[in-house]
């Protein structure tokens, strides 16, 4: 149902719940009232428990009183965790005769270049060899059947796999992306014979050439399907019991929502559910502040996730990875680097100071958490430098112990290097920041961008703490700090809208392609996307439709994602020109060689949810100024008294000059000299470089 004026006039309540490794973040908003934010401990054994607990808590707080929950949007880690913890279903894999080992052989690459004692690099664990069966059938490279499907053999082989204990079946036949007839028939036979077994077929999960990549993603789909299915089933039941009538919506990896019923059928699209929501939140922060080109950095405990947002939209990649294995499904291009608050500072064999990639994670966590960690981490350094208030960290959920941080940094770093504790802590920050800056630069350069043309969006509890140092290092002059950087993923869930993508293989040289044939092909996938939308009760005419094609030069195997405008006077010519332009931007050169299309893609989006109608009023009755404290700022030898400001009391239009520390429940912003912070009407903090400090992070003097 598209949102309407009357819809917004009632007391509709929207709830976004994002599950992270440590915290389950909740954002609850309703018209005319301040946005409510909750952080609950994640319940690892059954993550849905924390979601239902959040609803109970909101109810107890009175946040749901007199209203109706109109949207319930969820970012889930259940798909990812099933893979990381190897807790997916036992998959039986059926392949074309002669090809059962494709899943295990893969592309024969190894990731660890200098390793000699090797370990498997392909996801053979999804379906060990005994769980892989072959069936006589063959479709050729033109899509013609040359060996008919041996149905009796199929049934026999499937029965054997089920008898062995297979809980889900993946079917991958060669060239099924050109002609799915055998896969569909096989699936129908299996569903009839084994109605309780989940079935995934490659021509539906990933209809594109290259059998290993297609096999892997189809096997992953089957592996997580029973898990995701059971999880969403329990969650929907629990929400219904709690009186939440709104349909459950799930964030997909490419940044659009899907109703739970559709998401359950396509679980392989959920691997980046949570991180994608954060990037969508960052897009929305950009839109509300009129900034189009952004780099979002989400600094968590173990990683820093980097994503580029160009002209208001996140960069999408058509092939991603889970746990190092390829999964060919569209996702927001999020690049994790091994640097975060939990990153451990250590000394190498020659006494050099190194930071990460090992992390203390959330258990035991940094030394200052007092949970038994003794290694010096970045968070310990932040505490020692005075950036963090020990009594006001992660919404007060963890009381930090400065003496433990001091001991860890003193013993681990300062004493062996003959530095003071403050010098050591500053050193840890400088090293970490230099790594993150190089990581951000690498991500931008790889996509053909100069980071200086972008603004930073600082997410995660630690994002706003490091943002200025990173910006200075990268030559970036503006930073956006969202109202609630520590729960932006949960916020992003509510900023997103329903989106469905359907793809098909379409191998045609541009030179000989007729526009009518192209239009007809799109019509086929558009119909499928429309039927997905119809299942979400969304009318086709309210949705926007965007077409894309994967295009490459003839003879190349790597393609680029090119937008397609079928309505133009010469759609094929336009595809070619756009391809050349994109190629020029990403690869740095253009030449007029023949090109061809490999795949077609259609993306249907429901209307955006209006962002207005919500109060951005700051909480009343709080003083901005908190007690100042002694802080070791970058480039200063000695600690100086620095103003500490309470973000909750800030009102639009106010400007503050660094140095200052800006505190809020879910994050801390370090505003250094040479930078100003303006409170925007959206309550976003806009940090601008007002002058070059001449004393930036890496100045050795």
């Amino acid at each position: 149902m598209p949102p309407s004026a009357t819809f917004w006039a009632d007391m509709s309540i929207e709830i976004g719940v994002d599950i992270g490794g440590t915290f389950t973040d909740v954002v609850c908003r309703r018209p005319g009232q301040p946005t409510q934010i909750l952080k609950l401990p994640t319940t690892r054994d059954d993550p849905g428990q924390a979601v239902l607990a959040a609803v109970r808590r909101l109810d107890e707080m009175g946040a749901l009183q007199g209203g109706q929950v109109s949207r319930f949007v969820h970012g889930t880690t259940v798909a990812t965790n099933a893979v990381l913890q190897r807790q997916g279903a036992r998959v039986g894999l059926l392949t074309t005769e002669g090809f059962r080992d494709v899943l295990e052989i893969g592309r024969q690459l190894r990731r660890a270049l200098y390793e000699v004692c090797l370990h498997p690099e392909t996801p053979g664990f999804l379906a060990p060899r005994a769980f892989r069966g072959e069936v006589a059938e063959r479709i050729d490279a033109q899509g013609a059947v040359i060996t008919p499907l041996d149905e009796a053999a199929l049934v026999r082989t499937a029965d054997e796999l089920v008898a062995l204990g297979a809980q889900a079946i993946a079917i991958v036949f060669l060239f099924a992306f050109l002609n799915p007839v055998h896969e569909r028939r096989a699936a129908a036979l299996l569903r009839q014979r084994h109605p309780d077994i989940a079935v995934s077929i490659s021509s539906e999960v990933d209809p594109a050439f290259r059998e290993y990549e297609r096999t892997a993603v189809t096997a992953f789909d089957a592996y997580i399907k029973p898990i995701v299915d059971g999880y969403l089933d329990r969650l929907q039941g629990g929400l219904a019991q709690a009186g939440v009538a709104a349909p459950l919506q799930i964030m997909q990896s490419r940044g659009g929502l899907a109703g739970a019923a559709v998401a359950r059928e396509r679980p392989v699209r959920l691997f980046l559910s949570g991180p994608a929501a954060g990037v969508m939140g960052a897009c929305n922060i950009g839109a509300r502040n009129g900034v189009d080109n952004l780099i979002s950095i989400d600094i968590g405990g173990t990683t820093c996730d980097i994503a580029l947002i160009e002209q208001g939209a996140p960069t999408i990649r058509t092939e991603g990875a889970i746990d190092g294995y390829p999964v060919r499904v569209s996702m927001i291009d999020i690049n994790p680097i091994g640097a975060g608050g939990g990153s451990i500072a250590w000394l190498d064999g020659a006494g050099g100071l190194r930071v990460g990639p090992r992390s203390a994670g959330s258990e035991p966590g940094p030394a200052c958490y007092g949970r038994g960690g003794t290694a010096a981490t970045v968070t310990d350094a932040s505490l020692l430098l005075g950036y963090l208030d020990p009594g006001y960290f992660a919404a007060g959920s963890v009381a930090l112990q400065k003496d433990l941080a001091r001991a860890a940094i003193g013993n681990g770093v300062a004493k062996p290097l003959a530095l003071t504790e403050a010098e050591a802590a500053q050193g840890i920050h400088r090293v970490l920041n230099s790594q993150m800056a190089e990581g951000i630069r690498a991500v931008s350069v790889r996509q053909g961008h100069d980071p200086r043309g972008f603004s930073l969006v600082a997410l995660g509890g630690a994002g706003p703490l490091h943002a200025i140092a990173l910006a200075e290092e990268l030559g970036i002059r503006r930073i956006l700090v969202p109202p609630h950087p520590g729960v932006l993923s949960a916020q992003g869930l509510l900023d997103a809208t329903v989106e469905h993508e359907v793809t098909m293989a379409f191998g045609h040289a541009l030179a000989t392609l007729a526009a009518t044939d192209l239009a007809q092909a799109y019509q086929g996938i558009d119909n499928r996307a429309r039927s997905l939308m119809a299942r979400e009760d969304l009318q086709a005419e309210t949705c926007t439709v965007r077409h894309y094609a994967d295009v490459c030069f003839v003879g190349q195997s790597h393609h680029l994602d090119v937008p397609v405008d079928l309505a133009g006077p010469d759609p094929i010519g336009a595809i070619y020109q756009t391809f050349l332009d994109t190629h020029d931007r990403i690869n740095g050169h253009r030449f007029e060689a023949p090109a061809r299309i490999v795949n077609l893609r259609t993306v249907h989006r429901a209307p955006e949810w209006p962002a207005s109608g919500y109060s951005v009023q700051p909480a009343a009755g709080i003083k901005i100024e908190k007690a100042p404290r002694a802080v070791h700022l970058p480039g200063h030898d000695k600690a100086i008294e620095v103003a500490v400001l309470d973000r909750a009391a800030m009102t639009p239009g106010q400007t503050f000059l660094g140095p200052a520390i800006i505190e809020q429940a879910d994050a801390t912003t370090l505003l250094t000299s040479g930078w100003s912070a303006l409170v925007a009407p959206s309550l976003t903090l806009i940090l601008d470089q007002v002058r070059s400090t001449g004393l930036d992070e890496d100045d050795p003097h």
């Binding site: 270049l113 090797l118 490279a141 050795p700």
Partner: protein, 545 residues
């Protein structure tokens, strides 16, 4: 020497690595040829003015340190003081420090306030540099002149003025001049990015501090490498292995013999006793042997040691002149990849008894190179290459990995669907070669079996295999892996066995069946656990009986 604090040193190290990565990223992104874009056969480096590697970004280990002798040659021919802004150097001659002719090196002095403080360099495998065969890697070459154009150390650009004479000569002598220029421009772009960023770093931190950081970083990696090498018991460790043949004399195996001496934190590899240089293109110039030795050192030392020239200081090579590992011109060298892989295996093999938990049994170490060329039914021509791996050696705590790239190379195979979409060839089978892993407490990795059928036209097949005659040996009582094999089943009847290297014609209906080698096993087979045995049977990876 300016004193440098440990924090600034680590910040600078991150920057140097970041610059090398940005150079590599620029190189891969801007290159034209598939061999760079998809094979990642290119690398970028920052060098000190003493030709020591400061930071290197590579995607394939065969590039490890191969630029070092090139930079040495450049600086001998063009002393540092003579280099100025706008200069660019170029060369590819294997006999002057290069690798093989398609690998062209470009270097640029990093100028700071008018003085060269370092060098930025990029090496790319060009798709074609002329010579007797398209692609410039003719398996039947008998001298380097047949392999393409030899470029001595030259100024590609002198004070900002491009060497148009050189470019005109090259364009006239390569098969794809536009691709050649595209890839060359990518190399120039990579060097330019590296030089600009390092100049900025010098501006910010001061050139004296930067030079101190360079020496300190090199010294520290050297110190850590020596400490790691000291952990290996001093001694002399020998090993031998073979290449099947040189592609010309098919019945003559080629001996590779290495004696690795470890003494007081230094490692010396002597190749006394290795076969004389061969007629075919499997000769390996010193830069290739150096890449093999340095790969072995990186593999046996702590991976946390930052890779730079300091790691290479304690490593020495003794390469007899006129031998396979130090040939005299004009011996052909284009197929030296197989040789480098085997040399790497020999150096590791020499140390496997003294480092039994760090070094596995021998790997198949076969990267089978296949090429099919012919005409499609519409008359257009095709050439498709297929690169097929073998099984890795088992180690002290786990089985070898089936079908995986090892040691100096890291190449992808060609998807069956990509091959069939491109050429009138059908693949009937692609699976693990059951029983091919060497038996042991831990089993060697399996090779594969792949079967092709020609559907139309006459197809020229080039087959370049290894391990047809000499298996991957086991370790600590483990058994050797299975040999590789290949045969052609003619549609007219009859079977032809391929002797490791062959060029022949296939006709419609003919089938090519290949099996790649298995890795060696580790530990006595009798020690294999009951669970592992039952897994072997369930998976069918070990054949019964």
């Amino acid at each position: 020497m300016t004193h440098i604090d440990p924090v600034t040193l680590e910040v600078l190290r991150n920057k140097l690595d970041g610059i090398a990565n940005e150079m590599q990223s620029t190189l891969l992104r801007s290159s034209f040829s598939p061999i760079v874009k998809e094979g990642l056969d290119a690398s970028a480096c920052l060098f000190s003015t003493a030709s020591e590697t400061l930071a290197q970004s590579i995607s394939v280990p065969i590039h490890l340190a191969t630029l070092i002798p090139v930079i040495e040659t450049f600086l001998t021919r063009f002393p540092l003081a003579s280099l100025g802004p706008g200069d660019l150097l170029i060369m590819n001659d294997p006999y002057l420090g290069g690798t093989h002719l398609p690998d062209i090196a470009v270097a640029m002095p990093v100028m700071h306030r008018g003085k060269a403080i370092a060098l930025a360099a990029a090496m790319t495998h060009h798709q074609d540099v002329g010579g007797m065969a398209p692609g410039s890697v003719p398996t039947n070459a008998t001298e380097v002149f047949q392999e393409g154009v030899r470029i001595p150390p030259l100024k590609l650009r002198d004070g900002g003025v491009m060497n148009e004479t050189f470019i005109a000569m090259m364009r006239q002598n390569v098969r794809m001049p536009d691709a050649f220029m595209g890839d060359l421009n990518a190399q120039i772009a990579a060097c330019t990015v590296g030089a600009r960023r390092l100049d900025e770093v010098a501006e910010k931190f001061g050139p004296e501090l930067l030079q101190s950081a360079f020496s300190e970083l090199l010294d520290r990696s050297e110190q850590m490498t020596r400490a790691a090498l000291r952990a290996i018991p001093d001694g002399q460790y020998s090993y031998t292995d073979y290449l099947d043949n040189d592609g010309i004399e098919l019945d003559r195996s080629i001996l590779i013999k290495v004696m690795v001496q470890v003494r007081d934190g230094e490692l010396t590899c002597s190749f006394e006793g290795t076969a004389d240089q061969v007629r075919g293109p499997f000769n390996c110039v010193p830069s290739g042997t150096a890449a093999a030795a340095l790969f072995a050192v990186r593999a046996i030392t702590d991976p946390e040691i930052p890779t730079n020239g300091g790691c290479f200081r304690p490593v020495h090579l003794i390469l007899p002149e006129g031998s396979l590992v130090n040939p005299k011109p004009p011996a052909p060298v284009n197929s030296r990849t197989a040789t480098i892989k085997r040399i790497t295996g020999c150096i590791l093999g020499a140390l496997k008894d003294v480092l039994p938990t760090r070094i596995p049994a021998d790997s198949g170490g076969e990267l089978l190179i296949l090429s099919f060329g012919g005409q499609r039914q519409d008359g257009s021509t095709f050439v498709v290459g297929d690169l097929i791996a073998s099984g890795s050696g088992a180690s002290s705590d786990c089985d070898g990995v089936d079908m995986i790239e090892t040691d100096a190379t890291n190449c992808m195979n060609l998807p069956v669907e990509a091959l069939e979409l491109d050429a009138p060839i059908r693949v009937h089978h692609f699976g693990l070669s059951q029983g091919s892993g060497g038996a042991g407490q831990f089993r060697g990795g399996l090779g594969c079996r792949r079967e092709y059928e020609i559907l139309a036209g006459e197809v020229t097949l080039t087959y370049r295999g290894e391990r047809h005659n000499h298996p991957a040996k086991g370790s600590q009582g483990g058994e050797p892996g299975a040999l590789a094999s290949a045969r052609i089943l003619r549609v007219a009847g009859g079977q032809e066995v391929i002797l490791s290297k062959q060029v022949t014609t296939l006709y419609p209906g003919d089938r090519l069946c290949i099996e790649t080698a298995g890795g060696g096993g580790y530990g006595a087979p009798a020690q294999r656990s009951i669970e592992a045995r039952s897994d072997d049977l369930a998976s069918g990876k070990v054949t019964a009986g």
